[in-house]
């Protein structure tokens, strides 16, 4: 998975490209935690280029969401693709995460 990190206007945006699965979720978590521990606390995960997300990827997002909340920060998702949205709906985690249609909407919120 390719991960690009953009920090702008108080947001740290993770642009993920590839499958978010048991092979890639650990790397995403590790990079995310480094930024969280460095004091950044407003995160957006852009899933526009993630067409496959499994329960390992979902568990990683839940863990990060909890870590961010514990530190008083926020984590939102954007541009969840149709196939990936299925897993959020089946686990009802679409009711927990704030999900924006795209990065621009998230930043404007």
């Amino acid at each position: 998975m390719n991960i690009e990190i953009e920090t702008k206007d108080g947001w740290t945006v993770f642009h993920l490209d590839g499958d978010l699965d048991s092979g890639s979720s650990a790397e995403m978590q590790s990079r995310f935690m480094k930024l969280l521990e460095s004091g950044q606390n407003s995160f957006l995960v852009n899933l526009e280029k993630v067409n496959y997300l499994d329960s390992s990827g979902l568990a990683a997002l839940v863990k990060l969401y909890k870590e961010v909340r514990t530190r008083g920060g926020s984590l939102a998702l954007c541009a969840v693709q149709r196939d990936a949205m299925k897993i959020f709906q089946l686990t009802r985690l679409d009711k927990i995460f704030t999900i924006y249609p795209d990065a621009a909407s998230a930043k404007a919120a």
């Binding site: 499958d19 299925k86 897993i87 686990t91």
Partner: protein, 148 residues
């Protein structure tokens, strides 16, 4: 593997995450070519990915070089997938499992529930010659509607 028939494809992979990804793309490619699309395709690929991930993680116990055979049979109305490995103990998903409540923010425990939600049949067999077989059957949305 014992089944034979038209549209039967097979693939051997090693028990690591990269190989699991290759297998997912292989399944997606074949079911797409057979006319599965949209929700049926996404559900089938996700169920297979979850099942294979469990086999890699639990049955093969993190060893990256265990062979896993995948058999795929696609018909216009259904997809059958068999995942076969030679680990001493297979991945045998419980028949009924309660999904974690969303508000509990569980950091795991979603996989088996998802498999059960996404496919029409899940069956585990320990074969007489010492292999584990996980059988998945996914009927197309159209065939389910016609049957009901």
């Amino acid at each position: 593997m014992t089944s034979n028939g038209p549209g039967l494809k097979s693939l051997r992979i090693q028990s690591d995450h990269e190989e699991a990804r290759r297998a997912r793309h292989w399944v997606k490619q074949h079911i797409t070519a057979a006319g599965f699309s949209g929700e049926d395709r996404a559900e089938c690929v996700l169920a297979f990915g979850e099942a294979l991930s469990n086999v890699v993680r639990h049955a093969c116990d993190g060893r990256p070089d265990e062979p896993i055979d995948i058999e795929l049979q696609v018909r216009p109305d259904q997809v059958r997938i068999v995942i076969r490995d030679g680990a001493p103990r297979g991945f045998n998903p419980p028949r009924e499992i309660k999904a974690p409540a969303a508000e509990d923010l569980a950091e795991g425990g979603y996989g088996v529930h998802l498999i059960q939600q996404l496919v029409d049949e899940v069956r585990y067999l320990r074969t007489g010659d010492g292999f584990n077989e996980l059988h998945l059957l996914k009927r197309s949305g159209l065939s389910r509607r016609e049957a009901s």
